[in-house]
């Protein structure tokens, strides 16, 4: 029986947040209203997605102060809990791609990630910058018109329409196309959180002494290049692409991995 503590915690968080958002519309709950683009916490505290905010700013529109403040709050929050903690603990698409990835392992579609010539893992950073450029050129937030993240979230809150096709497309792409294709290669929102994650405080810590080199962590990790130190040295996972999902900690039988707080003072 494998440990699934963090996996369960993540699913509870993800679904819990969606329930709160859903209830805000359907029953008028005043806890968390809006969508990931911009939300209102307890009816007073504004929250906004930094990348979405940057896209609107790129168009040249002078945004309301609520959104700017909200983006700062969210940026600070993910600076603490780990940039891409958004991806694995909040984003609803994560459940879709995790399911695709799990099915991929069960169906033994491929064991190793294929290195595509035109689709490297750094494509997302290009797309992230491109999104801002397109926003500036066309005068409208470019990623928001096709973001499967908010399409799925709005779908759950307000009804899907044919938007469900986008979610299905991501699932099929990750299952039959590229392993970790969307979250690991393309998503510019995740890329923006990666940049935040480079400096964030809560990170996974590796203990080389305890590691038995079973490689379970690397099999389950959706961004396993970040685990380059496993069985080599006792350092923290500082790569911003780590999503702090905690699956490696779950599957590790030797207690060689744990969450820890990065100590900037020690250096």
């Amino acid at each position: 029986m494998k440990n699934i503590k963090y996996l369960l915690l993540r699913r509870v968080t993800q679904i819990g947040l969606l329930v709160l958002y859903f209830g805000a519309n359907a029953y008028g709950w005043n806890i968390l209203a809006g969508t990931f683009g911009s939300s209102l916490l307890f009816g007073t505290i504004p929250l906004a997605d930094p990348y979405t905010t940057l896209q609107v700013l790129a168009t040249g529109f002078v945004l309301g102060a609520d959104v700017l403040l909200g983006a700062l709050i969210i940026a600070f929050f993910y600076f603490i809990v780990g940039g891409r903690a958004f991806c694995s603990w909040v984003c609803p698409i994560n459940m879709v791609t995790d399911f695709a990835n799990w099915l991929r392992r069960k169906l033994k579609l491929d064991k190793n990630e294929i290195n595509y010539r035109f689709l490297k893992r750094n494509a997302r950073y290009w797309i992230m910058v491109l999104g801002l450029i397109v926003s500036a050129v066309v005068g409208i937030s470019a990623f928001e018109v096709l973001s499967p993240i908010t399409i799925m979230q709005r779908g759950i809150i307000f009804g899907f329409g044919s938007g469900i096709a986008v979610v299905l497309a991501i699932f099929l792409f990750d299952l039959f196309g590229v392993k970790n294709g969307w979250c690991g290669h393309l998503c510019p929102l995740g890329a923006s959180y990666s940049l935040l994650g480079k400096a964030s405080l809560i990170r996974v810590d590796h203990d080389h002494e305890a590691c038995t080199n079973c490689m379970e962590c690397k099999i389950v990790c959706p961004e396993n290049h970040v685990l380059h130190m496993v069985n080599k040295e006792s350092i923290m996972v500082t790569d911003g692409e780590c999503t702090n999902c905690g699956r490696c900690i779950d599957v590790c039988g030797d207690d060689a991995l744990k969450f820890s707080i990065r100590n900037y003072l020690k250096k």
Binding site: N25, A48, V56, D66, G70, V138, F158, G163
Partner: protein
Amino acid sequence: MANSNNNRRKFMATTLQSVGLTALGGLLWSGYTDEVKASPLILRPPGAIKEDDFTTACIKCGLCAEACQNRETNLDKETGLPKAGTLKMAKGGDHKLIGTPYFIPTEVPCYMCEDIPCVPVCPSGALDQLSVSNNKGELDINKASMGLAVVHKESCIAYWGIQCDACYRACPLLGDAITIEMHRNDRTGKHTFMLPIVHDNVCTGCGLCEQACVTEKPAIFVLPNDVSKGVAGDHYVKGWDQKDQERVQNAKAIETTTERSSQSSSDYLNSGDLY
């Protein structure tokens, strides 16, 4: 040495490829985005800024739609749960810019709530509270301009001579936004045409008239301001209106740079083939 040269060449090729692919992606992405943002026949919430700016500013959070649905006046009296609100969030298949709020009057019109719950919640500035406030800074929904109701005379049964004032009665600004104009019905010689007339400067575009209209497809309907309104331009001025006269200063003369033939006008008169 040869190896490092090879590496450099490979690096250059990869960089060029990445830049090229990014440019390609950018072109496709821009084209797609430019296409999807165009939806001229869409009615926005009250206080919405100009459509072009609105699609830029709207952060697609849905707070306006949630406020609309959960306003106290929208609670179902039997279940106590909110009914479907006026504002919908555009989803895939609606053929509107995805994630932006809009409404369809024949389904649920805007009820013009006095406290306008949808506007103050907007965090981005896409809904401008000042545009729906009076001089004292209080919210005033009558200042909203979501669109303009237009009457199609040929399908409006009041224009046939049949008595109907459904739109007039449904109008929240009854007597101001829609008035009834009386005309003698010469066909019968003893009846009156009671014609609904919409007044542009008062109509807010709420769509209650469109929803109330009795014809199979409404003969009165709300269109966005850009679509339903013409623009006379600066060359036509109401000479009898002092304020309007000021506009003449904005008018620009049209200057032609091609030289005119001074001969042509007299040639034209003398050529003999006037007709």
